[in-house]
Symmetry: C2
Subunit: 150 residues, 2 copies
DNA sequence: AAGTAAAACGATATAACGTATCATTTTATA
DNA sequence: TATAAAATGATACGTTATATCGTTTTACTT
């Protein structure tokens, strides 16, 4: 997973008097981006310790909260783990996370047709897909074929 | 939330030598059904204690696992909580849980048009919606209107 | 009815995930 | 450079979940 330009981060987090992208936060974000898979809070603490930086759970969770608020990362509830935001969420404010129940592959899906299809029917069911989070545990192609032998 | 006939439960859990619907499990299922909202594991332990039944975390989580396997309850990852299964999942094997991010209302959605709409597009994205779990955090109508003032 | 193997349960300890509180340090800006 | 807000450190604790091993219950056999 690649790193991210400071300017993007400043834009996303309104860095300034009321929200600062500090070195610690930047380092933690970099570790999350470098991981290539969702990473857990205490594993992040480990990674930071490996880099010579002692971070307490309190500080780690504060940092994760900051990055979540800024839209720089997402939390996968199913895994209690965090991954970088890769989507733009243009035209709608829904976040869709896919987790393969076979191999654990996790990725953000930013797909307008899918979003529209869901919104259409959910509207009729009295559910408003605005500022929403959707988490899907299903099978990626590779795992699907392994299961079905197809 | 209503109770559930033993025959249904036997069918769902293949009660017999290899999977027994014991009194303890039945009592815990009844508490989950009676709650009317997703309930947490340690709150369930409290409820059982109130009824004069001391249950350890180990036993409670074993029971929850049993009920999950039997399809009698679901786990809401977002809440770390459990609720009775109300759906039939006919014709497809997807579970869709809706949690209102405003009021916390949680319910299972068993809707073929929605499922078909999602499956159609997800297929094209290389995701197979079989034996899948989907969790949606969004707004119910009431909370939506409160937010938007509409 | 007694023997039996498997399943369920109890008891204890501990791991994993997350928060509360208050003191200290850093930062942006006046 | 003074200062107020934000961030971080330190300590303790709360919540969610699992490991392990011993005992009891159950379904089934004889």
């Amino acid at each position: 997973m690649s790193s991210r330009a400071d300017s993007d981060i400043k834009a996303a987090t309104q860095t300034g008097k009321d929200a600062r992208l500090t070195r610690l936060r930047r380092e933690i974000l970099d570790v999350i981006c470098a991981e290539g898979a969702p990473i857990k809070a205490y594993d992040l603490i480990e990674r930071m310790r490996d880099k010579g930086r002692r971070v307490t759970p309190t500080t780690m969770y504060r940092t994760l909260e900051f990055l979540l608020q800024g839209g720089l990362i997402h939390r996968v509830n199913f895994l209690n783990a965090y991954l970088p935001c890769t989507g733009t969420h243009e035209g709608h404010a829904a976040l869709l996370l896919f987790v393969c129940s076979g191999c654990g592959e996790t990725r953000e899906i930013d797909d307008a047709p899918l979003y529209d299809a869901m919104r259409g029917r959910l509207d009729e069911l009295g559910i408003r897909l605005k500022d929403s989070r959707i988490e899907i545990q299903a099978a990626c192609l590779s795992c699907h074929f392994q299961e079905t032998g197809g």
